[in-house]
Symmetry: C2
């Protein structure tokens, strides 16, 4: 019966002076003439376990030669070592090589660049950095589910395949079952999608919001959490073509209520991750982003600022800064503006009531008829972390906005039914999950928080 | 400040004789001359709240005319009614119509066929059946996450977009950013995928297993939980082209250990759902599948049978049954056989050690060189609920199997690295999430457990 290394670290005293068996991978092997140290990790815990072996073992010479990356089975006695750097070690009574690893193993116990590690994305989880990042990612996902489920939200799996071209097909991947070198054609030479699996052209989607709204009109509070896709040919640190998104939607909830949820959820997730992953956060604080831990602790206790887009522009205009992009009441705010504003308020900032012309058709138009009840949450370092709005619940006004903005109504008449049949005030937001992980770890490139990132010209593994 | 109906049901005594405000949708309105009853539901709870209104209200006539489907805001006093069918009701002091609903509302308080309800998939969550099904789906998803996270498994988001054609592209959707009516071509007239976003032809995947295995070699125990896609042109009750799957993978775990996990997980999920959704399970027991509740209770306490495929065939051959498909030691077992076997053992059955020729290349070949260490879990009614195997951890043997079965090695050389660098015994399984929900609810058609099902010729909403 093997014991997980996490169990040894979390309940050390129970195992003191007892025999334990561990299956794990070798991170380092420091062999000396009379004895040696194996540092091993079984993936259950961020820290390594130190194993001491000596000449008493009849395969001492073989153990001395075990290479980094190999898998081993270790039996031995757990010995408390309160005076050492690590609180305990295992004095081996048997070490067995399970799976060998050659000399040319790509992950050596030295510093590898993140660029190099992306080329071995299938092996990089074996490094400290990616062990920390992907463990935080997993725990953060659970935090999100826990927050919403504990509050009675329904988790809804909105479809990824869609026939509705509601976002503009330019931003969506087309899918087909056809052999693309031999497409069936109609008489006028176009692709005959009626012969494809769904009988029409279909896509993979960039959002589950519209379907999410239909479920909010039945279950009150719902959330989605699933992969989304964008075809953007953009090679920045923050863009990927496949990413995960969380999209909550709340019936009978206005813009103020929406901000309450966003603020409470973020604080909950941050606290949950800090509580469950102290070793990983410490590591990121030391080696990825100095001050990370303080930043995360601060946010849990911060009062988030709420200010209108108009008032933000006022502040930016008054600032003694030479802007690359001049602040404008009718325009989006640039990265440099976001940075200034979160520093100005020294914490997270909700920017509300945006010019309607730069926002989506489904957002509720304010009484001024110039702005919409939209809100972006800006946070220090990560910039925009969530974007949401109160939705236009009035059918006539919604249709008017769709017409103004040239949105096709035909494919999404079902969506309009949410306003025909017992419509109500409702609000929702979207949070890019990778952006959250970048915020929680301090990692600056989205490629380093996704197990197998998909970006332009990059679809390996 | 509004209160959720679930809160009133779960903590009734706290609200007795107090004023409450509810926002909800009208399920029925029975108006009489002097008074009336509104049954309302806000989506937080399966049961409806009964609201009593009378002539004291100055808008009594308007309230009497509120139609099914409308959204309302009700303020009133919670009155305990221990002698009535429902334990309490709200005596209204004010009823306000929030969102009207026309006479032709597609969801009326009568029995609609499931076929009809699929045509209004955006409205069907407002019925009792789909309220129960999708609530159970949400809670079951949380049960799965809770089971694995509490045991230290890492949740990994394996990629959906893939360039590796490792399952045979016939079963995968192709994706593209091209205008399919105007494809760029190479000199020899083929589609020039080098100009597509990823620089090569790409697909959406049917499994995250291979990438999952790479993460198991770093984190020990991992699971995936995400959407998967199959292009099967199959119009059965159990096939959909988009569905969610859970794929756990455990390092240092053999076939027996795998079955232990499968059995423990299923019992955990069933118990979790029965505990959290008693009203929904009761409803399904009454109106969907008589005996459901007993079946679920039984499984929590059952000892699952473990028997080899060979011994199953023995039993089938000895059975006094005229089979449509004759049982054969070298063949798969048919639906009729599955049904017989779970009845024979009166409970769930693990069928192990399958003929290697009908199973996948990555499964560990047994010492007999005829069978593989694979296991299917059969359960009463639902048939095969999970399928898994110990993986072939020996590189040479794995390559031999790939060659035998004509599997392309080039695109998945990274996968072979898991056997090159510190490989170890490991095992994993896949569970179709929809099949689990069908099992938990007794619903027989996969189209009725997916919010917006995608099946051949069906990609609406």
């Amino acid at each position: 019966m093997r014991t997980k290394i996490k169990e040894l670290f979390r309940n050390t005293s129970e195992y003191a002076s007892k025999e334990v068996t561990i299956c794990a991978w070798v991170r380092t092997n420091r062999a000396q003439a009379q004895f040696g140290f194996l540092n091993v990790n079984d993936g259950s815990f961020f820290e390594n376990l130190q194993v001491v072996y000596d000449q008493e073992l009849n395969n001492f010479d073989d153990i001395s030669k075990i290479r980094v990356g190999a898998s081993v089975k270790v039996t031995g006695t757990l010995v408390l070592t309160p005076d050492n750097k690590q609180p305990f070690e295992v004095k081996a009574t048997a070490v067995e090589l399970l799976g060998d690893c050659p000399e040319n193993y790509p992950i050596q116990p030295k510093r590898h660049t993140r660029e190099y590690l992306r080329t071995v994305a299938h092996l990089r989880p074996r490094t400290n950095l990616f062990s920390a990042v992907f463990r935080i990612r997993s725990v953060a996902a659970m935090a999100v589910h826990t927050y919403f489920q504990d509050r009675g939200y329904l988790y809804v799996h909105t479809p990824l395949i869609t026939g509705a071209d509601c976002e503009g097909s330019d931003q969506m991947f087309k899918i087909t079952t056809f052999n693309m070198n031999d497409l069936p054609k109609t008489e006028d030479g176009k692709v005959d999608f009626s012969k494809d699996l769904f009988g029409k052209q279909s896509f993979i989607t960039g959002s589950g919001q519209l379907q999410g709204e239909t479920f909010a009109m039945a279950f009150g509070d719902i959330y989605t959490f699933g992969p989304t896709f964008r075809t953007e040919n953009s090679n920045t640190q923050t863009h990927a073509n496949e990413f995960w998104m969380i999209e909550p939607e709340m019936a009978f909830c206005d813009l103020q209520g929406l901000m309450d949820v966003e603020e409470e959820m973020l604080k909950f997730v941050v606290k949950y991750v800090c509580d469950k992953c102290p070793e990983e956060i410490d590591f990121c604080d030391k080696f990825v982003s100095k001050g990370l831990k303080d930043k995360l602790n601060d946010i849990v206790n911060a009062k988030f600022t709420r200010i209108s887009h108009h008032d933000v522009i006022d502040i930016l205009k008054k600032a003694d800064v030479k802007w690359e992009f001049e602040p404008d009441y009718g325009e989006d705010i640039a990265k440099e503006h976001e940075k200034y504003i979160v520093e100005y308020f020294n914490g997270p900032v909700f920017v509300t009531d945006w010019p309607k012309d730069i926002k989506a058709y489904y957002m509720k138009v304010n009484p001024d008829n110039k702005t919409v009840a939209a809100v972006d949450l800006l946070v220090p370092q990560a910039g925009e972390l969530m974007g949401g709005s109160q939705r236009e619940e009035n059918l006539d006004k919604l249709i008017e906005r769709m017409d103004e903005m040239g949105v096709d109504k035909e494919g999404i008449d079902w969506y309009l039914d949410t306003r025909r049949y017992g419509g109500c005030i409702h609000s929702g937001f979207g949070m890019g999950f990778e952006r959250l992980i970048m915020y929680l770890t301090g990692v600056e490139n989205i490629r380093d928080v996704i197990p197998y990132p998909r970006t332009p010209k990059n679809c390996e593994f």
